[in-house]
Symmetry: C2
Subunit: 192 residues, 2 copies
């Protein structure tokens, strides 16, 4: 198991009463070459791995950005314990064009894990385009149906985690390398 | 005045009771070409402008990163009002090598605005280097002395602000251009 994950899990547990504690900031490289940064929702570690799952609209800018540069850094700050995790890695997009059976299933599972209200957000007019008055129609969604086209899953596979605790003034850098049996994590205590 | 600033000011005012509401995430481009992202503290709008002031250690990675690519995006999420500001612009570094009289004064003023405890953070061993046991010595700081070498000021000069209110489901994109009398802001209502 990644050695930073118990630290993150403990921070998540101690902040479970705060809805915003699952809101994280994801930085990507904008298509203009400038950094981009926005809040997204942490949706779990798929298959109990150390990868991080996020859901997004296929029509949002970040999809183009990630296709252009597949690296990102999550900044996850815990407001009560004063802990920060900077999680850097490669991002994979799982969208309606995925043909891999495992990924199709992963996207289906993600879709069924979200609320009806969250699902409806993928049916509204495209984000960031000039505002269009929403028609008064009710969007119909069959609860048993699979994901709509605009629903995408992002999986960030970390290869570096920079952890700092501003109360105890302790900082660790976790880095990974590929070994024979998969990813191996090392860590070093550094000055905060 | 920048048309997004009253919105930001109102969000700041309504969250003034929350210490973490001045903590913002700054994305830059890492020297490896990957995005970098970390929490920093909002230190005000210098000279009542629409620019954003941040303090940092000259020895931190972000200084090298900003010298390499001077653009950044701040993500500022307000946890109670569900408002997000994404503030993109060029970042200027004001450090101990600045020779411009106005900038020297701006750095002096910033130094004297911070607490004694904050000042001491610029005297400790360099961040991110292998941990060195801190000697038990007390760092001595003359309260009237000017900034120490490691103290830098960052000024982000916004040219785009993406505002979204997740309660009212309203999103505005503010963009600027240079006019005869300085920066002119335009805005457009877009789909959230």
């Amino acid at each position: 198991m990644a050695s930073w994950k118990p630290l993150l899990q403990a921070a998540m547990d101690s902040h479970a009463h705060l809805k915003h504690s699952s809101f994280i900031q994801l930085a990507t490289l904008g298509t203009s070459g400038r950094p981009a940064n926005r809040t997204v929702v942490f949706r779990g570690f798929p298959d109990a791995s150390d990868r991080i799952q996020i859901h997004t609209d296929s029509r949002s800018c970040k999809i183009e950005e990630i296709k252009h540069c597949p690296f990102g850094e999550i900044c996850w700050y815990f407001t009560e314990s004063w802990e920060q995790f900077r999680i850097n890695g490669r991002i994979e997009i799982i969208d309606n064009s995925s043909s891999d059976a495992v990924k199709i299933q992963q996207r289906e599972k993600a879709w069924h894990s979200i609320s009806h209200k969250s699902k409806l957000q993928y049916l509204v007019p495209p984000p960031r385009l000039p505002y269009t008055e929403e028609p008064s129609k009710d969007y119909q969604l069959d609860p048993s149906a699979g994901p709509v086209d605009a629903f995408s899953v992002l999986i960030l596979d970390p290869d570096q985690v920079d952890y700092v605790n501003l109360k105890s003034n302790v900082r660790w850098i976790f880095t990974s390398r590929m070994g024979d049996g998969g990813k191996i994590w090392m860590h070093e205590k550094v000055n905060p």
